[in-house]
Symmetry: C2
Subunit: 387 residues, 2 copies
């Protein structure tokens, strides 16, 4: 959950009051299935910050970018189709693709994001097996859950591989503007127009409770997205769209994103320092933006099995298995630094270290009486160490 309390109430109040006072009957009415033209223009300004140039005609406003993902899956996926995704990948994207009976095939990542050679090999293997690959789903900047960022060189390579293979790229970019030190490479959509559907959202740079995101899609896909959007919800919320449009008109929204960056940078720093202090023997990713650190456990531990013990100690995480469609990720976990304060983060990591230590002690005692349980898939699914 983003830390929406860092958003000054006055900014929201002004946007909401103007919406009611100046746009009342329109904001309360049904709107267009594609979204408000004025907001779509403003969305172009937001995307320009990441190097994207597009037409207001090709933006489709959705009920959060999650719904754009759902609509894309509905339009493109038939049972048995393959979606290639990073391993690990965003949990609710996996859920959506599975809900349309597609299979998710993961591709290895390292500190530079998705590994192009691994992507190439996966496509060859799937094609040889006669599989139909429909989409490459990727979160190139400040990846959820790994926190890593696809380098510029790799963005070019991945796009070239996808172009050659005729695979549509679904670029999901909720965190790109929330960098801590330097901006990530420009969006993949800034390089390639025809082969990329770009998903953006106001959930992390403003507030998720309004449920407004968007897709920027090649023209033919955009038309289908609008029809699918109309069938699903008639139109995205006019009220929410007006509030966001007024916010973008009246607030220093770029300055507010700087504020969010500062909040999350401080929390990231607190988490990294606490990890170094309390878990010096483990490895983790060092994100330069976004919300997440990916922590690798000692190999004999299982993050999912350990969760109840952690919750009992009042510290929570998401087990790595949630981010794999194939059972991988048992030796890893996602830590979120977006919502808790630095003090809570420090205390949480301290508790987590105690839980891990306790679990190791327990397993070592157990090991003295019988051999460790086997994890046959472990070697192949281990995320690389990118700490």
């Amino acid at each position: 959950m983003p830390y929406v309390s860092a958003l000054p109430r006055q900014l929201v109040e002004t946007a909401v009051e103007r919406t009611v006072r100046e746009h009342g009957p329109v904001a309360l009415q049904y709107g267009s299935g594609q979204g408000m033209p004025r907001l779509r223009e403003q969305i172009l300004e937001v995307m320009a910050l990441e190097g994207i140039r597009g037409s207001v005609d090709d933006v489709v406003v959705t009920t959060g970018s999650q719904h754009a993902l759902e609509l894309m899956a509905k339009l493109f996926l038939d049972p048995g189709d393959v979606v290639i995704a990073e391993g690990p990948s965003y949990v609710t994207a996996i859920t959506v693709f599975k809900s349309f009976q597609a299979e998710i095939v993961h591709v290895e990542m390292d500190e530079g994001g998705l590994v192009p050679e691994a992507l190439r090999a996966t496509i060859v293997r799937l094609r040889e097996a006669g599989r139909r690959i429909k989409l490459l789903y990727t979160v190139p900047s400040f990846h959820n859950p790994m926190g890593v960022t696809l380098s510029w060189q790799r963005r070019m390579e991945v796009l070239e591989i996808a172009r050659d293979a005729g695979i549509l790229v679904l670029e999901d970019n909720p965190y790109g503007l929330l960098y801590f030190d330097q901006a990530p490479p420009q969006a993949m959509r800034s390089i390639e127009e025809d082969g990329v559907v770009y998903l953006g959202t106001f959930s992390k740079t403003l507030a998720p409770g309004l449920r407004v995101g968007w897709a920027l899609a090649p023209h033919a896909i955009r038309e289908k997205l609008v029809l699918a959007n109309e069938a699903a919800v008639l139109s995205p919320s006019s009220f929410s769209q007006h509030v966001i449009s007024e916010y973008l008109d009246t607030a220093d929204w770029r300055g507010q994103i700087d504020t969010f960056r500062g909040v999350y940078r401080e929390r990231r720093d607190a988490m990294l320092a606490a990890l170094a202090e309390h878990l010096p023997g483990l490895r983790w990713t060092v994100p330069n933006g976004g919300f997440y650190v990916w922590l690798r456990l000692p190999e004999q531990l299982d993050s999912k099995a350990m969760l109840p013990r952690a919750v009992k100690e009042l510290v929570a995480y998401t087990p790595g298995t949630a981010f794999y469609a194939d059972g991988g990720g048992r030796d890893a976990m996602r830590l979120s630094f977006c919502y808790p304060t630095p003090d809570f983060i420090r205390e949480g990591v301290r508790r987590l270290a105690a839980v891990i230590s306790g679990e190791l002690t327990l397993l070592n005692e157990f090991a003295q009486t019988q051999p460790l349980p086997a994890h046959p898939e472990r070697q192949s699914v281990l995320p690389p160490n990118v700490g």
Copy 2:
């Protein structure tokens, strides 16, 4: 489009201000995939007005009731399945069912709504043909587009037929509270719990721009709906839900529904009077609530072919064909009296009468030189005269 201008601005302002002031960070945050507990309690109070008793656990808040329809279709429909629906039926429901590759089979209506004998015969025919019937979709009160209402006796019969056949009933009830003289029979869900999924919305009794509707579903279906809702949009808008909850807490919402009733009753009266004055030779339905009159044309006219001529004369309607999945409805049209003022309605009907008259003259002149084009399907698809 509902006439949202009949909603006093102050009522919305109060709800919105309280939302920002008292629930800011929660209203701006992600919520539960099932919707706010407080709002779900209030939804039970709204449904109680139509005789429905249910548990707050079985209400799922959605992005308008349209999205509940989409989620139900996603959960239940496989390619080739049949959805039985009234003929005519709500256009975007047809679109949704088709988008999941289901076939819509229409059942005849008359002035008392869906005809039970016709429903029984249709089920037998489909079963004999080996078809898999998944849903019976119905708008029992102030039907869209026909304006008619299913009688109490028929509600019992239709539910019994569906129960015997093991077919789930999808009761879509956006207009039930907008009656003009007397309330419609209580909701079908008030009679039967297990076999009915009920869809409701705030779009017509408050405002569509907030995009908040709901489903009341049997427990096992409710669980699946929540998961599908989370996959599609993560959670419905917290902000919109809070605004509606505050509105229901602070405004005289029952009184406001009375106000809407008065507005729409006056418009219905204006439309019926204008039809009697300008088109005395035709037949139309007499709705006791909702938004629509269904007008039958002289049999040689085609409402879809005539539309460009009408638009040129600055009057619009929806051709009957939009409400059939099978090409029916050419000799009928839906007239909406919800949005235009009585003066505009009178002028619109006057213009429509001139267009119809002009079209008839043209056809008669044409008929003197050659025979009329055949409409082979006409006899079977003609909606009955219920005027």
